[in-house]
């Protein structure tokens, strides 16, 4: 049986949808059967980022209201041979059209068929969030290196810790700008991870290619040459249990090493 991972953040616009699309794509590239579920009812865009919008016939609300069977609503990604599917959100209803119990039932059903169910959560902590986490076994919290995003991530982590059946969340820090971190104009990776005290599962650079790719409906993870693509592929490998070192390793090591030196009183 597969596992369901919810991608959430609290704050809007930090990259949940981008992360969902790319983790899903990267897992499919590893040969896993993946179903992406867009729970952002009323503001769906996972389909757009995946370039699958024009093939939507039914949506999530149709499924939970039994207007169609699950497999009728699933949109197949033709770039993969029967590995990657999307269950789109409804564009016309609102978040109250679905209840958490219905979501749980749906996700449990999908887990029979797929290795990974990646659930794209809407921003906020209301009904949409509750629906998104209802069926999840694991959670990934996305933040950017900004104080307000980190604050909301902290809030969400607090809520996730109360969810029974959801493992302790792991963190993705998205849109890192190296020069700003180095100058101390942005919170650095260590600061954020210590502050939130959860495990880091990946860091993704701020990369124009991500935006370009999304606009073309081609998740960046499909392009093996970009830095962000490697970051998403690494996250997928970590989800699969591999231990992959962080990309900006040099910097991190320097930090840790200088701390150790201080500890031993070496100059």
């Amino acid at each position: 049986m597969g596992e369901a991972i919810v991608i959430t953040s609290g704050k809007g616009g930090v990259g949940k949808t981008t992360t969902s699309a790319n983790i899903g794509t990267a897992l499919a590239l590893q040969g896993k059967r993946v179903c992406l579920v867009d729970t952002d009812i009323g503001l769906r865009n996972l389909d757009v980022v995946m370039g699958l919008e024009n093939r939507i016939i039914y949506d999530l609300v149709d499924v939970v209201n039994e207007r169609c069977k699950i497999h009728q609503a699933l949109v197949k990604d033709k770039r993969f041979d029967d590995l990657l599917y999307l269950l789109p959100a409804a564009q016309t209803s609102d978040k109250t059209a679905v209840q958490p119990e219905q979501m749980k039932k749906l996700v449990d059903e999908l887990k029979q068929e797929y290795d990974y169910i990646i659930i794209d959560c809407p921003a906020g902590i209301e009904q949409g969030y509750k629906n998104a986490v209802a069926g999840a076994d694991k959670a990934i919290v996305v933040t950017t290196p900004e104080v307000s995003a980190v604050r909301d991530a902290d809030r969400i982590i607090g809520l996730l810790e109360k969810e029974e059946g959801v493992e302790p969340p792991r963190l993705v820090i998205n849109r890192i700008r190296n020069h700003m971190m180095e100058n101390g104009d942005m919170l650095d990776v260590d600061e954020i991870t210590t502050h939130l005290s959860i495990d880091l599962i990946g860091i993704v650079a701020d990369d124009d290619e991500v935006i370009k790719a999304s606009n073309h409906g081609e998740p960046i993870a499909l392009n093996p040459n970009s830095k962000a693509s490697i970051a998403y592929r690494n996250i997928a490998r970590r989800i699969l249990g591999e231990s992959v070192p962080l990309q900006v390793l040099e910097e991190k090591q320097k930090g840790v090493f200088s701390k150790i030196k201080k500890f031993f009183g070496v100059k």
Binding site: R151, D152, D154, R155, I157, G158, L159, H195, L196, S197
Partner: protein
């Protein structure tokens, strides 16, 4: 028939004390108190108010009865009740007192939007993140960083203290006093554990932890220690 006295008035160097017997009924007590206070009315209307302590032995009075007693004495004489002392406590009072004395330890990160509240002292093994709040009837000891709000002595205890390994609070409250963090944070080196307390000027101040040894000797609960 000569009855034993249920009400005794004694003058001490600290003022008057009313001893009320704890064996008779409450109604009987009130009747006798009424007689006693009326007969010994040597004081006139203009004389100043005299405070009395009331000792009720092993009798338990409800809040309403206490209130009644206050009223009763006040009407009779130029007397006001300063305190009512009883040897007995209700179970709930005893439990509350115990809880307020107890130190509760919690291992967690108090995150944004969360409130952690204990009746007594709080020992937090973890951090209080910005937007998170810890509240204690007594003292607060944070083993990690305090970056959110801490409210010690929430029931009114101005002697309560707050300490943290890393003191970077958004706001500190002790009893009814509030102290918010300076708007401009100077980038200081990580300091040792610090504490916050209310000083003689009724201000919340932050200082080295060690000052508490002299300022708050009551923090030591070790008995017979040298």
């Amino acid at each position: 028939m000569k009855k034993t006295q249920n009400v005794l008035i004694k003058g001490t160097k600290d003022g008057l004390t009313l001893h009320l017997d704890d064996q008779c009924s409450y109604t009987e007590l009130k009747r006798e108190l009424n007689d006693k206070l009326s007969e010994s009315s040597r004081l006139n209307e203009e004389s100043p108010l005299i405070t009395v302590k009331v000792k009720i032995g092993n009798r338990y009075l409800t809040d309403e009865q206490k209130e009644e007693l206050h009223e009763f004495v006040r009407q009779k004489k130029n007397l006001v009740i300063d305190s009512i002392e009883s040897n007995v406590l209700t179970k709930s009072e005893a439990e509350r007192m115990k809880a307020e004395k107890e130190i509760v330890s919690v291992a967690k990160i108090v995150r944004s939007g969360q409130v952690l509240e204990v009746p007594g002292d709080l020992l937090l093994i973890g951090d209080v993140n910005p937007g998170g709040t810890v509240v204690a009837g007594g003292n607060i000891f944070v083993m990690g960083s305090l970056k959110g709000i801490a409210h010690a002595g929430a029931g009114g205890n101005t002697n309560a203290i707050i300490s943290a390994s890393e003191m970077m609070p958004t706001q500190l409250r002790i009893s009814h006093h509030i102290n918010r963090s300076p708007d401009i944070k100077e980038d200081v080196e990580k300091k040792d554990m610090e504490c916050a307390y209310i000083d003689q000027n009724d201000q919340i101040v932050i200082d080295r932890l060690q000052v508490l040894i002299h300022l708050r000797p009551n923090l030591t609960t070790l008995e017979g220690g040298s």
